[in-house]
Every structure is written in structure tokens, then in C-alpha cells.
Symmetry: none
DNA sequence: TACGCGCATGAATCAGGCA
DNA sequence: ATGCCTGATTCATGCGCGT
């Protein structure tokens, strides 16, 4: 079967006559027009990854001189916040009509757009159930050192109203999270490796989402056989995961290139083997604690003195978690330890000690105390 | 000294005449009126923890003064959102006026209000720099098992405009985070234990923020001696941490109970020793040294050869501090480095190396030596 | 085959001072 | 406002290549 044969091309009028849902198909059209053609209260869940309206300045180069490939596509350009808001409210209103009364909607965004989206969601009568933070395990750094590393994106999960009886598979989520309630912060790597769709070595879509993210969303809020609509289908992550999990899907996408890639991808996706489900859970990472966190949380006070085990070196703890030696040298626990010893590297956690009850103890002991106090 | 003596009671008119800032004081008044009484462009940072209000019922009134007793139908919802938006825009506008042009504002909230706050921030011309996620190490579980555990709150950090030159202590944040860039997701325990203010065993304020959170905010975005304004002061976490870190603070709070608790708490807070307050400085803060100065002072001799770390490029030092490549290209250390690499820019200090004791060392090391020898 | 090294790259609102 | 010069700045991951 040809790749494009499953892509339904519809004019708005033709689509309006089609009563049955275009299940497991891609509708190549503008999302507002395409949603208008769908019956009211017909889908169980909507997952939407709308344009973020990034407002990027000039070129950005890495410290090594290489160029950052930014999102410059026309579909992300809006003239003003007012235009973006109008667009947002239009598609959210249509989504509200199409969604079943007990269905829910998910929208993902970044600080560029998510506040406007969230306000529109509330204004249109949706009832926000959670905001979810996708913590990126491997975000792009802030190359110029001008801000905090932008290391997360935000998802909004909402029902059609306060009293809607939505689907939430509490047990599935708890099982997935090692028998602890699933929290509102999720950690996943960004989409890369073999999962990232490429054509001639170039990424097909600039913002392809990881399947693990959609997997959790669909597992949490839909039942097998449910219909999931994605009005900004892109390269079809939602469709691929829905097929794997035995859910029906409808994708709406304007760009022919994206439609073709999505169609091919979903064709190749295989419904999930039950045994594979268990192996999808990533082991919980060993929590890391930065030395500065101990200062912030008053386990050590700025001004406190540290020494090495043999009291050959001394250093004072400063407000930002750096150390200052009486000789004038400063640096992190690792760097200053290395400097004072003339060594290329040093594990500051075991090198530096603090005095308690007349005895020297490594600062690593404080880290263990902190972990015990904060980890469930 | 009595607890309340430091609390300045001001009517709006009386305050309007007061030109000097009420530094290190609590102003017991409505925050919008109190901010109106402050001079324009007078504070370096604002930290705001506004009421969340929505969907909790209770103290919500319509613009006409009538009471909203239940937020049930869509119309009431819209009505209350509009009211909350008006309040939000009013205090954010006043904050914009009071803030110095190169100052920044922080606002914290949850999904109940943060989307409305964020949209207002953008609409008022603030430029969002980051949104920050406070991941709670020990959140309250979702008892009914109907949603994800609400385990985070969101902070928005914004400047007064796109081109503002705000304070961001990059090196301090990197040091605090074990020599990795500080990310946009921060983990802290919720406020409890001895830090939590209680009276007769009952918590004084329902949403007291942890000091560790304010510690990081103030350390990241202010300098010692800066003025920090908190228009929703509550029990004064911002003031207590500001005092500890050697920053001035101004607190605005309507409730006398909170003012009293905050005043007592801040009285008891101890400022850090000045030396402990010192933090890691960015190279930007160091005095500049022109490469030619090193040649003048015979740290390098004209005619000496430099290479990059991988010995792919070579250049000769000339008498005026410019470099000449064997291929004929010439220029400053930066310009020639960029030219030879075909890069848009280059930091010559770290790109070019000289040979000493059989090893390559960056010429930046010579600059450090020069600085140590010449700085008092 | 295994391991190490080099290189590429990801939704990014990414510089500042002076002439 | 514009242009020019100086010079500060990156983390995790995957893939290809060489030993």
C-alpha cells in the first residue's frame, strides 16, 4: 500500500458531510476547519502540541563556534500575542465541541506560549486537572550563560468541566511509578537516536516529541479502544503510540511532508506485546545532590570552616557553595581541593570534612543525611 | 524593642509624601496602594507570592462588591477570572513602575493562577527570562487517587523588557550546582520543621515558602546591598533571607498577624559574615587585560609562535600584539582565531596556546599570572 | 568484538561597550 | 540607531571511526 493512500484529503465541504469519524487516519487540512467537520462530542481525548510562538532573535552559536539549528518554520510565526491568542482560542473552542463530555484534553508548551494557552483553556470553561512538567534529561544548555538552562516543558491536562467524570487510570500510574503515586513532574530524554525521524540525515520535524511522553499520557487517561485526536499531528507520535497501545487515533496536519512521514511511521508501528510493557519502565536514577543544596538548606552555614582529614588545608564555606582558602584561592569543593593539592582532580565530597562533636566527618555524610530526610 | 514598632502604618496620602524608601521595613497596607507610594524605578528586584484565590471560594468578591459564594457555572467562573485578572494586572502594573529598568520580577503560583499571571506579565511588556519549576521533595499526596500528585509550583522570572540588562549571577549558580549550569527545575522540601512559623501549635500562614527557595532566587538575581520588594510579604520569608544575604528588603502586607510574625522572625535572623557572602565572580567582573600588554611586559616576546590546542593552526606574535599566520592572514588574537577556523567568532584567550615545559598552555594562563602579579 | 575518542546536535525568546 | 571590536560561553547522548 502506498504511503499516502491512507491520508484523507478533504475539502471543508466534503468533510462536513462525512458523519463517520476518520478513525486511524490522517486528515491533511487546517486543524480548525478539519475539527469543524467532526461531529460534536465524538472523541475521548485530545492531545495537542500547537506552535509555541517562539520569538527568536538573531543567530546563536555554541562556544565551539557551531551554529544552533533553530525553529524558523513559518508555522511558528505570529504577528502578535493578540493573533496568537485568537488562533489559540479558535482551535481550543473547536476542540471543546468535538470532545466528549467526559473526555480530557492535553496541551504541551513552553513559557513562550503556555501561559496564554492556559488562560484560554480556563476562559473557555475547561477545568484544569493538573499541570505536568516534562523534565528533560538532556536539554540544550544555555550557551551564553545568560539564564537558567531551559530544561523543561509544561503540559496542561483539563476536563470539560468541574463535574466531568474523566478517565484516570490511577493504578496503572502507580504501578508505573514503583508503587508510588505518579507525580506532576515527569523525566524523559528528548527525542533522539533511532526514534528521531530523519530524511537524508536531516530531522524531518524540528520538534518531534518522545514516544515515552505520549505513552504515559495515553496510558493514564484513555482506555483501550478509545479515540484520541491530535490536531497538530506533525510526524505522528500520538498515532504511533496510540496504535501500540490499542487506541484509535485521528491526526490533523497541514504539511504534506509531515503527513507522509507520519503515515509511514505508523504503518511500521506494532501493537504492543504485553511482556514489553514491563520493560518500558526506566530505573529510577540515583538522586544527585549538589554541595550548594546543603548550604541552601542550612546543613552548613556560610562562614563554616572545612578541613581535609589531616587538617593540612582549610577553607571557608561561602554563600553560593563555593569555598575560599586562607591563601586566597576559591572554587567549588572539587576544584579547590584539586588546586590546593596540586592535583588534576579531587572528589570534594570525601576530601573536605567538617567538625561535629569534636570529630572530623566528611561532608559526604551530610549529603547522606540530606538524602535520608528528603527521599521518600 | 516591641515587635510592631518597626511596622510602618501608612495611609495612602501620608505614604505618597515619603520620598525615601522604607528600607528593611514592613508596610502594613494594601499592596497596590503601598506600591503607588513608592518612587518609580526604585527597587532592584521584586518577589511576589500573590493569592491563588480561584476555585477555593471564600473571600472572592465581584468588581461591583457583591460576594461570589460558589464558583459553579461557567458565567460565575468567567466573572471571577475577570476579577482576578484585573487585580493581577493592577499590581503587576504598579510593580512595573516601581522596578528599576534593569531590575527583574519573580512571581510564584500554581496551575490555579499562574497561567493568568503569566499572560498578564507578557501583556504588560515584561520579558520572560525563564519559568522555573519548584519540585517539592515531599508534596502532599492526592488522597482520592483522582489526579497526579500535585508536586510542584511554578515561578516566572521576567525583566522589564527584551533589552534590559538584568543581573544574573551565572557563576554563583553554576558553583551552587556542582559546576553544572543551574537548570530550570529546582528541588526543595516544603517548608516545615523548625522553619515553619507556628503559634499555639498552629501554622501562622497557610503557604509559607521555604527559605531555601528564596535563598536561590536572591543569590541568582541580586547583588549585596540591592533592594528587594515583596508586595505579598506574608510571614516575611523574603525579608529573613534578604537580611541573611546582606540585601535590603521592603515588605508589604495587609494582615497585622502576619506583619507581627514576620517582624519577630526577621529580628531574629542573623546576617552572614561579609566574607561568607562573597561569591564566585564571572570573568566579566575582572579587570580587562589587552593581549598587547602581555607583549609589552615581556610575558611573550614578539616572534614567539602560538598554536591552537590541536596544533592545527599556527601564528606569530608581533610587536603590537597582533598575530600573523604563515598563510598571510593577520589580526587580533580573536579575529585571527575566527578567520582561521572560518567561525563567526572566537575567544583568542582560550583558543591560542604557547609552549612551556613541553606542554601547551592557553595564553589565558599568562593573563591570570599577570593579574595575580599586578592586582593588590 | 569491545572500547575510546571525536564530532554532531537538541522548541533558545542566549552580549556589551564604545565610537 | 548602527556598526565594530572584544571576548565569554555547553550538557547529555548517539553515532562513526580507529585501535
Amino acid at each position: 500500500m502506498g504511503v499516502m493512500e491512507k491520508v484523507a484529503r478533504r475539502t471543508r465541504d466534503a468533510a462536513a458531510q462525512a458523519t463517520p469519524l476518520p478513525l486511524d487516519q490522517i486528515v491533511m487540512a487546517d486543524c480548525i476547519a478539519a475539527m469543524r467537520a467532526l461531529p460534536a462530542k465524538s472523541v475521548d481525548m485530545i492531545f495537542a502540541d500547537p506552535p509555541y510562538n517562539l520569538q527568536l532573535g538573531g543567530d546563536l552559536n555554541r562556544p565551539d563556534g557551531s551554529h544552533v539549528d533553530a525553529v524558523t518554520d513559518a508555522w511558528d510565526k505570529f504577528d502578535s500575542f493578540a493573533h496568537y491568542d485568537a488562533f489559540t482560542r479558535a482551535w481550543l473552542a473547536e476542540a471543546h465541541r468535538v470532545l466528549k463530555d467526559d473526555g480530557t484534553i492535553w496541551v504541551i508548551g513552553s513559557y513562550h506560549n503556555i501561559f496564554r494557552v492556559g488562560a484560554a483553556v480556563q476562559d473557555l470553561g475547561y477545568w484544569i486537572l493538573n499541570d505536568i512538567v516534562w523534565r528533560k534529561a538532556n536539554p540544550m544548555p544555555n550557551f551564553k550563560g545568560t539564564r537558567f538552562t531551559n530544561a523543561h516543558e509544561t503540559l496542561i491536562w483539563a476536563s470539560k468541566g468541574e463535574k466531568a467524570r474523566y478517565t484516570f487510570n490511577y493504578r496503572s500510574m502507580k504501578t508505573l511509578n514503583d508503587e508510588l503515586q505518579m507525580r506532576s513532574d515527569w523525566e524523559f530524554p528528548i527525542c533522539g537516536g533511532g526514534e528521531r525521524l530523519k530524511r537524508d540525515g536531516v530531522k524531518v520535524h524540528p520538534t518531534q516529541k518522545p514516544e515515552a511522553l505520549l505513552y504515559r499520557v495515553l496510558l493514564a487517561c484513555t482506555k483501550p479502544g478509545d479515540v484520541v485526536l491530535d490536531p497538530f499531528f506533525g510526524t505522528g507520535t500520538t498515532g504511533a503510540v496510540a496504535k501500540r497501545l490499542g487506541r484509535h487515533w485521528i491526526g490533523i496536519e497541514r504539511e504534506a511532508d509531515y503527513c507522509a512521514a507520519a503515515c509511514q511511521r505508523i504503518e511500521a508501528a506494532l501493537p504492543l506485546d504485553e511482556r514489553a510493557l514491563a520493560t518500558m519502565q526506566s530505573p529510577k536514577a540515583q538522586p544527585k545532590v549538589a554541595f550548594g543544596v546543603l548550604v541552601e538548606n542550612a546543613y552548613l552555614t556560610p562562614g563554616a570552616m572545612l578541613t581535609d582529614a589531616k587538617r593540612r588545608h582549610r577553607a571557608m564555606v561561602r554563600a553560593d557553595g563555593s569555598l575560599a582558602s586562607p591563601c586566597g584561592a576559591t572554587g567549588s569543593i572539587h576544584k579547590l581541593g584539586a588546586t590546593l593539592q596540586g592535583a588534576p582532580a579531587c572528589n570534594g565530597w570525601t576530601f573536605w570534612h567538617y567538625e561535629a562533636d569534636g570529630a572530623l566527618r566528611p561532608i559526604d555524610a551530610l549529603r547522606q543525611t540530606y538524602l535520608l530526610a528528603t527521599q521518600p
